[in-house]
Each structure stands twice: as structure tokens, then as C-alpha cells.
């Protein structure tokens, strides 16, 4: 079983790859849409700017991802990777996400410091979440982001910072986390392990 980790030159993927290596998962870091299309699972990491996802558009990766998702291949978006699952972001309004769910990523309100950096607690909303299996409500995970995904029907866990936002989303074979499981200690590794064993 191969997990494709999509390399779209946004930030570095070392940490994500390292975490999966620790779990002894078979991963392939790739920017090749054909490799993405062949993978049994797909991870779209991402730190940095929403505009970086434009690379996915121009490289054919978007089509490969859409095709795999339709075939039921588990897809995990991390941080900007999760934001890309929505239609758009205020950060780069002209760039199109996958629009898997309605809504737009918005900036944190001016009353709170931005970026939202640090360990914040999860409120698990969906007990049947497969990604968050074994994760207790009020568990802490590591966030670092300036834009957030609104609360959705698919929200599996929410987080509170200048209002509630989606910390994790889940629907069928679609998974997204705003936090960084690869940087959230033992609990983060547990979440990635859950994804591996889907």
C-alpha cells in the first residue's frame, strides 16, 4: 500500500514524510500526477500561502486527486491542504480549491493574534470519526495558521480561537486537519496511524 505525499513546493514536507516513516508506512513524495493517481492513499500537506495550491492546478495533480477521490481513495489534507478542500480562501480569492464543501476560508478577526500558533484543544463533535479514533475531546494539538475553515456539516472536531472553526473535517473518504499531526507529539502520530490503517 502506497501513500502519495504530494509535493507542490509549498514549504517543506520533511516533517510529514518523517512521521509516516516513523509509522513504517510506505510513502512516496511526488509531484507526478500519474504517481498520485496510482497511490492507495493521498496526503496533501501544506504550510504557507493558499496561492501555492495554484501549482496543483497547473500540474495536472488536481485532476488526479479528483479522480482518486471519486474512486473512494482516502485523501488527507493538512493545514493549507485542508483549506484547499473548500472552494476558496480570502488569502488568494482567485485560486480555486476543490469545493468539496461549501464555504470559504477566512482570516482570524483582528481581536486575536494572528497567526494562531501553538497547542490548542480539540472539541470532538463526531464520535464516529475514523481519523480521530481514540482521541479524547480537549486533547491538545499544534496549530500554525492565519486562515481558518468555517464550521461545516462535515466538521469532526472544532477549535476555539477568535470564534469556533473546523479543526478536523471528515466525510466518507475525505479527511482534513487544520492542525499539524506530524508536530503534535504522540497524539498526532496516533491520528496519522488511524489514517494509515483505514
Amino acid at each position: 500500500m502506497t501513500i502519495a505525499i504530494i509535493d507542490y513546493k509549498a514549504g517543506n514536507l520533511t516533517s510529514v514524510k518523517k512521521a509516516f516513516d516513523h509509522l513504517r508506512a510506505d510513502t512516496l513524495v511526488t509531484e507526478d500526477p500519474r504517481e498520485v493517481g496510482k497511490a492507495d492513499k493521498i496526503v496533501l500537506p501544506g504550510v504557507g500561502h493558499f496561492a501555492a495550491t495554484r501549482t496543483l492546478e497547473n500540474s495536472g495533480i488536481r485532476e488526479a486527486v479528483v479522480d482518486s477521490i471519486e474512486r473512494g481513495i482516502p485523501f488527507l489534507g493538512i493545514c493549507v491542504g485542508m483549506q484547499w478542500m473548500l472552494a476558496s480562501s480570502e488569502e488568494a480569492p482567485d485560486v480555486h480549491g476543490l469545493a468539496l464543501w461549501p464555504g470559504e476560508c477566512s482570516r482570524f478577526p483582528s481581536g486575536v493574534k494572528s497567526p494562531h500558533v501553538g497547542w490548542n484543544s480539540l472539541q470532538i463533535r463526531e464520535n464516529s470519526s475514523r481519523l480521530l479514533r481514540g482521541v479524547a475531546s480537549e486533547s491538545y494539538v499544534y496549530f500554525t495558521h492565519s486562515y481558518r475553515v468555517p464550521l461545516l456539516k462535515a466538521t469532526a472536531a472544532e477549535c476555539e480561537y477568535g470564534g469556533g472553526f473546523s479543526a478536523a473535517v471528515e466525510q466518507d473518504n475525505l479527511f482534513g486537519v487544520q492542525f499539524h499531526p506530524e508536530k503534535s507529539g504522540a497524539l498526532g502520530l496516533k491520528i496519522l496511524e488511524n489514517f494509515c490503517s483505514l
Partner: protein, 253 residues
Amino acid sequence: MLTKRIIACLDVDAGRVVKGTQFLNLRDAGDPAELAAAHSCAGADEIVLLDITATHEKRNTLLETVRRTAHELFVPFTVGGGVRTLNDASAIFDAGADKISINSAAIADPSLITCIAERFGSQAVIVAIDAKRNLSTFEAFVSGGRVSTGRDAAQWAKEAEDRGAGEILLTSMDRDGTGKGFDCELTRVIAKAVRIPVIASGGAGGAEHFVEVFRAGSADAALAASIFHFGLSSIEQLKLRLYAAGIPVRLSC
């Protein structure tokens, strides 16, 4: 609730931790990889590795150290010291760091902040400011606090934010190494000047100092190198003290 972060700092020279640690049950108290893992296990929210030599001939040693330290570390990992160019930063990220900290090079060429932030994201760029009290204001110093820049620390922090820094690592030169507590006034002045998180550093001598800097200093995080010289046996114990004082902290998993 967003917690206040406790950051453990390792000062490293030629691949060895050179001060500030007295950790029990370690095979090698000077090995950064082993210490980082132990700190993380004890509840450190982040690890910072500061290369205090940062001479050219030792750069490869540093990269190897970063690689080894990052290998089994699953909390945020920052590397600072001697980062002068985008290439320096890229090499450190490739070796497994999540963030880099820049100080002198950012003062010398502030566009470096934007340059690294555009490539790796603002969350990956920490601007370190060494500040010294000058009557009622604070001045930024470089080269380990030896050289004055003539710049107001708060103004510089604001400029760093505008240029794309994601966090400010603020060290009080007056308090560093004294154990008399963080400079809460300095921390508050800088925290008010910017909208990005401020990490307080320099002067921690006991758990009460952390309580003060989070309350009176409005710090978002506090960093200490010699955290185990405080009469506290572990970061976990420090966090329990903070928790008891009503400061939100992440208690160990």
C-alpha cells in the same frame, strides 16, 4: 483554549549541547538529539536549537545535528544561529527544521525575512531580537548582544512583522543568565507593538517567573535553556505549577 508554550532551548557548539542541561538518566548529556527527545517527552511544547558558534567550517556539522535531532522529534523544531541567506535557511529546513530563527542577518538585510517567508511561509520565520534597556526604551542589539544597532526594539519588531515574520523571539540582555526573572516590561512593550506571538527569553529563575511573564508580560510563550537548574525537576513540574496558578498549559499526554 490556546495554551501558553514552554520552549526548551539547546545551545549547541560543534554538534554538542554546551550549557544549561542537567538531565537525569541520559547516556550523554551533551547530545542534542537525545536531549531534544527527553525535553519533548517531559512536556516541552517546542524545541529550539541555537548554534552558538555558527562558523563557516562547522555548518555541515550543524546540518547533521539538525538532521539527527529532527529525526525522531514530533513537536515543532526551530533552528537558529548563523542563518544569513535563503540558501542557509533552505538547507536547515531540508534537514528537518520547522522554523528558522534569524537575528543579525535580518537587521543587516530586512528583506531576508520576506524572502524566507515567501518561500517557506511566515509560520517558518522567527525574528530574534536581543534587547537592552536604554532609559525608558529598549534598543535592539546584534552579535550576541555586543553590538548596538541604534534601533528601537518595538519598532524593529513591528517592521519584522510587516516584512513577514511569524513570531518574535525576544531576549532581554539585561536579564539573560541572571535568574532574576523575565523582563516583563520589555515583553509587554513588544507584545503590544505586534500582532504576532512573542516568545519571552532571558532571566528565568523559577516557576513564578513564568507566571509573571505570561500574566504581566503578555507573553505567548517562554523559552529557557537552563530549565533544569531552577530547582524544578522537569518541565512537567513547571507546567503543573503554571496550571495551579491558572495559566493554560498543555499537560503531558
